[in-house]
Every structure is written in C-alpha cells, then in structure tokens.
C-alpha cells in the first residue's frame, strides 16, 4: 500500500461575494501519495486554482476535510505549513539581480533564524536541490541572464530546498516551449520517485501529463472528480469527459486529442502515414467529398487526382478550392 500524504474528504470550497456564499467545488475526495507525481487537469474556471489555494492554506474549507500528514490544513500556521509544503507558480516573478544560488537559498527561509543565516545542513540541501534540477553550473548566474525554462527550474530547485513532503505546482510550464515542458515534467517525475516527495501539478498539457503522471485528477463542471492511473482513464474512455461537446475526442491509438472525424468521403490510396496527413489537411480546408480517389506514390511524393499530379498538399488544396 502506498502511503497517502494529502487527503481530501468530501471537500467543499468557495468564495464569499458580499453576503452570499458562492461554492466553486463540491464534495471533492482524493488523495496524494508519497513518491507519486499527480497531475490535476480540467478546463479553465472549473476551480483548479481554488483547490490549490486551499491546499496552500490560503482558503478555509467550508465542509469536509483536507489534511496533510494526518493534520487538518486549516489548523496549520503559515510557518508550520511552509515546512511541509512548497509551491511553484506559473507567473514569472523574479528579481533580476538575484543569482540562481541565492534564489534557491530563499527556500530555506522557513527553517532559518531571523537573519536567515544558513548552516551546513541548509547548504547541503541547497546543493542537492541544484544537483537534482541540473542547475549547478548556473549557480552564480543572475536570474536576468538565464532563460525562462531555466528560471522555472530554479524555482523548482527553490521549492525542493524548502524540503517539504509535498510540492504543489500551479501550471509551472504555462509560459514555456514544448521541449522545456517535457524536460520539467520528467524532472518532476524523477524527483517524486527518487526523493520520496508527493508532487501535484496543475496543467493543461494532457499529452505530457499522460506520459509522465503516476495519477491523474480530472475536474469537470457538474461531474464528480475522477481520479486514477492515466492508462485506466484512457481505456475506460473517461478522458473524454475533459472534452465537453461533440467536436473533439481523445484518440486512444495516438494518445492525443483531435477533431472528431466528420464523415469524410475522401478516399486515399497509398502510404498510410501520408494519407493521414493529407486527410487532416483536407479536413481543415473543409473538403469532405471528392469525385475520385487520390492516389499517393511514395519516393518522389506525388498525389494524383483526376490524372493531375501534385507534389505538395498545398497545391492540391488550391486546385480543389478553385474547382
């Protein structure tokens, strides 16, 4: 049995607007486990940030329980909580004059005395955090001189140095490019499994989450929270609940979201890979019906339609558009 670190039971959360209560999340139950990377997915406005706020102890629970290591989060003081839980946010806030090393050292703030003097134990944890995030070589670089991806990794190192059991990351990769997103999520996965942390990542990247997460939490309006192994959720078709409406679906074979095939009557003959991309392009151009099949010849890449030859898909679509 895995050890659960954070437990939510029938949790209800919300805000007060004036005198009226406005509940955002109702009856939420889930757990975060040790050594696991959990990804929280859901459309905008469904209450992901609200949930994160309450985990960070910044929003009192209305009903139900939210407990960390067996103690209710509401009963933690700010300082106690900061020793067990650290956070990385999506907005890039950083003072440019600070070095990466100094930023990571800020993570030790909850543990040091009033001047913030670091002892050997603190320094060891900072070095370790830099090592795990592969940021050692950038230790003395100023934050203004490194890239966005590196800065976010430095923020993760800072959260690591804070040395809590739980790390919460609110869309940590929102401002980053694809390669950096993959790198950071794999990094988090490594940290979770090797350092005994329990990590919760709020993200919109379904594909990366599927690949890296040990567990998914799916939040959707008006539906109960779904929790499970990513693979289970894929095979039981529950991922489609993330995609309200009929337009999109989750393609099990390819592991990604795509537009539902609107019954296209186009016939393509030849290499399957090429046929897939040609079909995609035709779908985008709203071409659903053709009078004759398209033949694909490999090697010199030729598309033959009604005895005309095309060497690029664009040319074919231009031709079809004109006729």
């Amino acid at each position: 049995m895995k050890k659960s670190v954070l437990i939510a039971k029938n949790l209800t959360l919300g805000y007060f607007s004036g005198k009226s209560k406005k509940p955002v999340l109702k009856n939420l139950s889930f757990q975060l486990f040790e050594n696991e990377l959990t990804c929280l997915l859901g459309p905008n406005g469904v209450g992901k940030s609200t949930l994160v706020k309450s985990i960070l102890g910044q929003l009192p629970t209305w009903e139900g329980e939210l407990s960390l290591n067996g103690k209710l989060i509401d009963t933690f003081s700010n300082l106690e909580l900061s020793k067990q839980l650290s956070v990385v946010l999506s907005e890039p806030v950083f003072p440019g004059n600070m070095t990466v090393g100094q930023l990571v050292a800020l993570g030790r703030i909850p543990h040091t005395g009033w001047t913030g003097r670091l002892d050997n134990h603190d320094r060891g944890l900072i070095e370790n955090a830099l090592y795990l995030t592969k940021m050692e070589s950038l230790k003395d670089e100023r934050l203004v001189e490194i890239s966005d991806g590196q800065r976010q990794k430095a923020m993760i190192a800072r959260a690591l140095a804070q040395d809590g059991k739980v790390m919460v990351l609110d869309e940590p990769t929102a401002h980053l490019d694809l390669v950096n997103r993959y790198q950071i999520m794999h990094l988090l996965r490594d940290i979770a499994s090797k350092q005994g942390k329990s990590i919760l990542v709020v993200t919109h990247d379904l594909e990366i989450a599927l690949e890296t997460a040990d567990r998914l939490l799916l939040l959707n309006e008006s539906l109960p929270l779904i929790s499970g192994l990513p693979e289970d959720l894929v095979l039981t078709g529950q991922l489609d609940r993330l995609l309200p409406g009929e337009e999109f679906q989750f393609n099990i074979e390819k592991g990604k979201i795509e537009q539902k095939n609107i019954d296209s009557e186009v016939i393509l003959k030849g290499n399957q890979t090429i046929a897939f991309w040609v079909k995609k392009a035709l779908q985008k151009a709203n071409i659903r019906r053709l009078n004759a099949p398209i033949f694909i010849t490999e090697g010199d890449f030729t598309l033959i339609y009604l005895e005309k030859e095309f060497h690029r898909i664009g040319d074919l679509i231009d031709f079809l558009g004109e006729s």
């Binding site: 960070l56 956070v87 806030v93 950083f94 004059n97 800020l106 993570g107 703030i109 100023r142």
Partner: protein
C-alpha cells in the same frame, strides 16, 4: 568571490561617507578646514570663537540631520519598493509626507486664513514639528484603517496615492485663502531644510529614526521572501499582513519624523535603493538595507554641501537640490535597458 567584493564596497563607501561628512561641515559661508575641526573637536582649541559656534551649534547638527534623513528616507524607499514590488514606490506613496504637509499647512495657513494672527507670528520650531508629526500620524492611521480591510498590496498603493492627492488639495485650498506672509512661510518649509535644528531636536529625531529602523531589522528575512511576490512569500511562512504593519510603522516613523523636522525631501527615497542595487549588484536585503543607508547619507551630505554655494552666504533649498540630482538619476535608471528586469 562575490562576498569579498561586497565587503570591499562597504569599506570604500564608509570611507566616502566619512569624507562627505568632513566636506559637509567644512564648507559654508566661512570655510573651516578639517584639521581645525579635528583640533577643535578633540582638543577644544579653535582658531576663532565664532568657528566653535558655527561648527558645534550649526554645522554639526545639520550634518547629523543630513545623515539621519538620508538613512531614514532611503530605508523607507527600499521597504516600499520591495513590499509593493514597484520600482517607483517611495516613502511618500502612502501619503505620509502630504500628511505632514497638511499638519504644517494647518498650523501656518489656517491661522491666517481664519484671521487668527497670533499663530503666524511667534511660531516655534517645535510647533512645526508637532504639527507635521500629527499630520503624518493622522494620514498613517487613516491608511492603516483602510489597510486593515484590504488584502492586496497594490490597492494599498493606490489608496496611499489617493490620500496624498486629497490631502494636497486641502493644502491648496488653505494656501488660496491664506495671507502672503503665511504663504511664504509655508512655501519655505515645503522647500525643505536640514539646518536650523538644535541639539535637543536632533536627539529626538535620532531616537525616532533608531526606533523606526527596528521593524526593518526584525523583518529583514521576510523582505527577502517578498522579492518573489506575496504568494511565494506566504508559501515560505511569511505573513504579509504582519509585514505590512511593520512597513507602515517603520516608514511612518522614519519618513513622518524626517518630513516633520526637515520638510519634504524628494527623490532620495526613490533613487537611493536603486543606486544600492546597481552598485552592490545584489537583491539581498541584508546587503541592501545597510547599503542604502550609507548611500542615502552620502547623497544628502553632498547635496547639502552643494546647496551651500561655497563662498556665499546664500543657500539653495535642499528639496530643490535633491530633485536636481535625483531626477537625472531616476531618468537614467529608467532609460537603462534592463532596469525593469534587474529590479
């Protein structure tokens, strides 16, 4: 090593501070050389009796006030810039100086506006200080009451600015209705002056400045956490509400008392923290607080020395000099490419 560079810088800047202090007290309508000042202070042998008077009862307190004001205003500015995460915040954004101005304006102007001539005649320095402190304190209490109810530091900034302009408007109304003499008196006060304080006033001011520095020393670690913004600071165990009160108390005491005693002194609070960041290339408040204090003192001592117009008995108002020095510094900073990133 970076650390040794920072320590060397401190050493150098303290030397510059000592030099500026000596320069400041030896310049004036009568030039008195530093060696004479040394002999006078330590061996009590002055060339002329009048020199002893000038140094001991005028220039020395004035130089000390310059140091106190430099320290206090720069420390207020640094706290506010970090707390509000805004590079253009200064000690006056919470309306503190306008409050002091209001107090003094009521004392000087309202008397004449309502036809009470008694006040404008024998106005003692203590009355002005008292009025300034009351005004600054009043605005501080009002801002604090509002601060109690709000969560967001940006809102506090805006409220401070609004209080400031409302208070300035009241001052304008008072000025409009007041007599020429009172108006001139108030205008001179609003130009600022470091001189004219006697030793008992200097000791009161030093006491208030020392008390005002206490909250900074207590919360230096929290200011470092605030560099990452309020949400991160909270996640590191910092209580922003507590820190906000510390900041209001500290800047209220520092900027409030200095404005009450010396009149408004512009730009030091905004410009000095930036100079400290630039020179020390650091964001660590354990470095920046002492660094800003030293640079603030040097800047005010030099500005005051420059305002004496060597060789002449005339003096420029200190507020004009700091503005003339400070405005180009701030413009230069803002024009630097990386300014917003480095902050």
């Amino acid at each position: 090593m970076k650390n040794s560079r920072q320590i060397l810088l401190f050493f150098l800047l303290v030397l510059v501070l000592v030099f500026s202090f000596l320069l400041n007290i030896s310049l004036g309508s009568v030039s008195i050389y530093p060696n004479e000042i040394f002999e006078g202070l330590f061996a009590n042998s002055w060339l002329k009796n009048s020199h002893a008077q000038i140094i001991l009862n005028y220039r020395l307190p004035k130089a000390l006030v310059a140091v106190l004001a430099g320290v206090g205003l720069s420390l207020s500015g640094l706290q506010m810039q970090t707390f509000f995460r805004n590079p253009l915040a200064g000690p006056f954004v919470l309306g503190i100086s306008s409050g002091a101005g209001l107090g003094v304006a009521i004392l000087m102007l309202a008397g004449s506006a309502f036809g009470i001539a008694a006040l404008s005649g024998g106005m003692s320095a203590w009355a002005i200080v008292g009025a300034g402190t009351l005004g600054a304190g009043l605005v501080m209490v009002l801002v604090s009451l509002v601060a109690w109810r709000i969560q967001d530091s940006m809102t506090l900034l805006i409220i401070g600015l609004m209080f400031g302009s409302a208070v300035s408007a009241i001052v304008s109304v008072l000025s409009y209705f007041s007599g020429a003499d009172a108006l001139k008196l108030f205008t001179v006060w609003s130009m600022g002056s470091l001189g004219g304080l006697n030793w008992s006033q200097v000791s009161v001011l030093s006491l208030v400045v020392v008390v005002g520095i206490m909250p900074i020393i207590i919360s230096v670690k929290s200011y470092n956490a605030m560099l990452l913004g309020e949400r991160y600071a909270k996640s590191m165990g910092v209580n922003p509400t507590y820190l906000r009160w510390m900041m209001i108390i500290s800047t209220g005491l520092l900027a409030g008392s200095i404005t009450a005693f010396c009149g408004p002194i512009a730009f030091v609070g905004i410009a000095v923290p930036h100079l400290a960041r630039m020179i020390w290339k650091s964001a660590d408040h354990r470095v920046l607080f002492p660094a800003s204090a030293i640079i603030g003192s040097i800047l005010l001592l030099l500005c005051d020395a420059a305002s004496q117009l060597p060789g002449s008995a005339q003096m420029l108002p200190i507020n004009a000099v700091t503005s003339l020095v400070g405005a180009p510094i701030v413009i230069g900073l803002v024009l630097r490419k990386n300014f917003s990133k480095e902050f």
